[in-house]
């Protein structure tokens, strides 16, 4: 740590978690370009929160080594995961995927709130939101692409399912909460039983490249930037598959992790 210059990748994350700072509430009626500029400067709160969640889950995985894991550390990390999960549940977890894909946190939140309130028929018609202009089209375009490419992962499958007008607020938060709780429980059970083999089974599907935090964090940063660029580029030319697919493969891995914890 001393050799490096100060504190690297997480400097941006630090700005989000300074005292008392909560999510920024973007007013949807603001100038769109102004909002975009604002987002470009600081990664979205949801993205940052997701990074923290992912980091925490990796930390819990890395606990299982030769020596018995430090129980205090594990408990503190697990409590942090629960806190994040509870807040995400309040927001609606499926937003996590959408905000990552386009980086347009403010508009996403508006869209999601609106979609939740719409009837299933309106959602099926893919009605645009007033005032979002071309950006909502891009968002839906991204989402369609996202859905088709990541159809194998259940977390994104959840999204269209929810869009079909499930009573998300009542069912899924608890369901997901239960799934999160179950995965945390599994971690604690393994801590208690201390049989590394079962832990390895739990995490055997995890892609090893995920352990590289630097890659993950920088990957997320770059995919966010690509998302922004996508937004601007698709403004003029609709088709721009390459950066999107790059973005989506990162998301694939992340979705995979989420799937393990949410669905297991």
């Amino acid at each position: 740590m001393g050799e490096e210059e100060g504190l690297p990748q997480t400097q941006l994350l630090d700005t989000m978690f300074v005292r008392g700072l909560k999510r920024k509430c973007f007013d949807g009626e603001e100038d769109i370009e102004g909002t975009l500029a604002g987002i470009k400067a600081i990664p979205s709160y949801n993205l940052q929160r997701q990074s923290l969640l992912d980091m925490s889950l990796v930390k819990l995985q890395l606990c299982h080594m030769l020596v018995e894991p430090n129980l205090c550390r594990s408990v503190l990390i697990a409590n942090t995961v629960r806190q994040i999960q509870e807040e995400m549940t309040q927001d609606g977890i499926w937003q996590m995927i959408n905000s990552q894909s386009s980086g347009q946190a403010s508009l996403d939140r508006l869209v999601s709130t609106d979609i939740l309130c719409r009837s299933s028929r309106e959602q099926a018609e893919g009605k645009h939101l007033p005032g979002c202009g071309t950006f909502s089209k891009d968002f839906e375009g991204d989402q369609a692409q996202g859905s088709s490419e990541t159809m194998s992962t259940t977390s994104s499958v959840q999204a269209p399912r929810n869009l079909q007008g499930n009573v998300w607020d009542m069912e899924s938060p608890q369901e997901n909460k239960g799934n999160f709780q179950k995965s945390l429980d599994q971690i604690f059970e393994t801590l208690e039983n201390k049989s590394p083999s079962s832990v390895e089974d739990l995490f055997s599907e995890v892609d090893n490249s995920y352990y590289d935090l630097d890659t993950m964090l920088t990957g997320m940063m770059s995919s966010t930037k690509m998302g922004h660029c996508d937004g601007l580029e698709t403004f003029s030319s609709p088709a721009n598959a390459a950066p999107n697919s790059n973005c989506k493969s990162d998301l694939n891995e992340l979705d995979h992790i989420v799937e393990i914890f949410v669905e297991s």
């Binding site: 740590m1 100060g6 978690f17 005292r19 980091m55 503190l76 806190q83």
Partner: protein
């Protein structure tokens, strides 16, 4: 924090340990403790060794310095073990050392790793018997028929030999990792605390202990809080406290019930809502708790601060001292590199009634002192550079933000690998022992 009046002026005295930057993991110091007279200073390390330093008798002619500390005894206290049932290693790292008060010529201390506590007897041998009738000097037996006269063996002086022998081994009582041991004021019993349980032992009895606190939930899935430290009250032999990872301290009275499940007092400061973040709980976790000498106050250390509590007031501390508030904006990075889980200890000054100072460590080999009377604080550095004996240590300052003044260090330049977790204060004099990763520094008050 500049001096004046009665402020102590700290000078470098000695440094122990390897000079090179490449730190061998076994040499990492994990605990530091003076004995009750201050004559002996013990350190434990990650390799399971205990090194005891002894202070030289004061040289009456050399009034400008107190005696130096030199190696007195070194022994291997704990060895690495393997738990075959769980398929996990048990580290030999010494987590804590606590001295017993001296009752006879020998010294006794308790040392513990994650699972086993040992009582060690350290005794001196400076004479040996000579002149046996049936044995030669080298130990070979003499042929009895060659013995023509009898003599009485006598003790002759020899070079001083210090022997350490394990007198008691207190094992198999802790499922989780032991974080604290504390000797009761009755000097007959002691407690040992792990993440979820606290046990009471009698120093003479090794095959059983009494469980006095158990916070393990019936369902481990419900676990959200662990015990982080515990200590007996210095005067009241039925009272002890334990701290938790949620920033609470519970005071328990053993007379109330056999299992102290319900605390007599609960000390907790309400959270400041303006400082709330995802890291609030982690930084509120208490890493150390220490009673004052009188027993009227106790001190706790959490990640960013030191708090002084009056035992008569449960709802908030009487004083709070910020150790390194500039780290609050870096918590996410410190979470990523795990530094946020570092367990800093704290200590009170010796039993001088006039002065009340508390000390704790920080990063970049800095350590901090807070004077409770003058409300002044100082930051000093444990470093081999610029440390000449009897030269007063220069105070350090960290520049949190904005323009960095000359001689200030910016937060981003701090070395988070250089952490001072363990410090100790001589029970009677102004001598302090400060442990960096693998070196032990001894500083003294400048004597005129």
């Amino acid at each position: 924090g500049a001096g004046g009046g009665n402020d102590i002026q700290w000078c470098f005295s000695q440094v122990k340990g390897a000079v090179d930057d490449d730190v061998a993991e076994a040499d990492i110091i994990s605990t530091v403790e003076f004995n009750h007279s201050g004559e002996l200073l013990a350190t434990g390390d990650k390799g399971g060794r205990v090194v005891i330093f002894q202070q030289e008798q004061e040289n009456k002619t050399q009034s400008h310095s107190r005696g130096e500390y030199n190696v007195y005894s070194t022994f291997q206290s704990h060895e690495p073990e393997f738990d075959y049932l769980k398929s996990l290693e048990i580290e030999e790292k010494i987590n804590k050392i606590r001295w017993l008060p001296q009752k006879n010529a020998a010294q006794f201390l308790l040392s513990t790793n994650d699972k086993t506590i040992k009582l060690w007897k350290i005794s001196e041998r400076d004479k040996r018997p000579e002149g046996y009738n049936l044995k030669e000097e080298d130990g070979r037996y003499r042929d009895p028929t060659t013995v023509t006269t009898l003599r009485v063996p006598v003790f002759r002086p020899m070079d001083l030999m210090v022997e350490a022998s394990p007198r008691r081994i207190f094992a198999n009582a802790h499922t989780y990792h032991i974080n604290s041991i504390s000797i009761n004021s009755d000097y007959e019993t002691y407690l040992s605390a792990d993440d979820l349980r606290i046990n009471l032992w009698h120093l003479e009895i090794t095959d059983r202990s009494f469980n006095i606190v158990d916070i393990k939930p019936a369902n481990m899935e419900e676990l959200t809080e662990v015990i982080t430290a515990a200590e007996f009250h210095p005067n009241s032999c039925n009272t002890f406290v334990y701290s938790s990872s949620k920033g609470t301290i519970r005071l328990c009275d053993m007379r109330a019930s056999a299992l102290c499940d319900r605390h007599s007092k609960l000390f907790e400061e309400p959270e400041d809502p303006s400082n709330r973040s995802f890291f609030s709980e982690i930084i509120s976790s208490i890493s150390d708790v220490k009673f004052s000498h009188s027993g009227r106050y106790m001190m706790t250390r959490d990640y960013l601060s030191v708090k002084i509590w009056d035992l008569n007031m449960e709802n908030r501390p009487v004083e709070t001292y910020q150790v390194h508030e500039y780290l609050r904006s870096k918590l996410c990075s410190l979470y990523e590199n795990d530094c946020i889980f570092d367990k800093f200890e704290c200590c009170w000054n010796g039993s001088d009634r006039q002065v009340c100072i508390v000390m704790t460590g920080s990063y970049n080999n800095f350590f901090r002192m807070f004077d409770r009377n003058t409300k002044r604080d100082i930051t000093l550095e444990a470093s081999r550079e610029n440390n000449k004996p009897r030269t007063v240590l220069k105070p350090r300052k960290v520049c949190a933000s904005g323009k960095r003044k000359k001689d200030e260090i910016s937060v981003d330049s701090l070395d988070f690998n250089k952490k001072i977790l363990h410090t100790a204060w001589h029970p009677k004099e102004n001598i302090i022992a400060v442990a960096t990763t693998n070196n032990l520094y001894i500083f003294q008050d400048k004597m005129n």
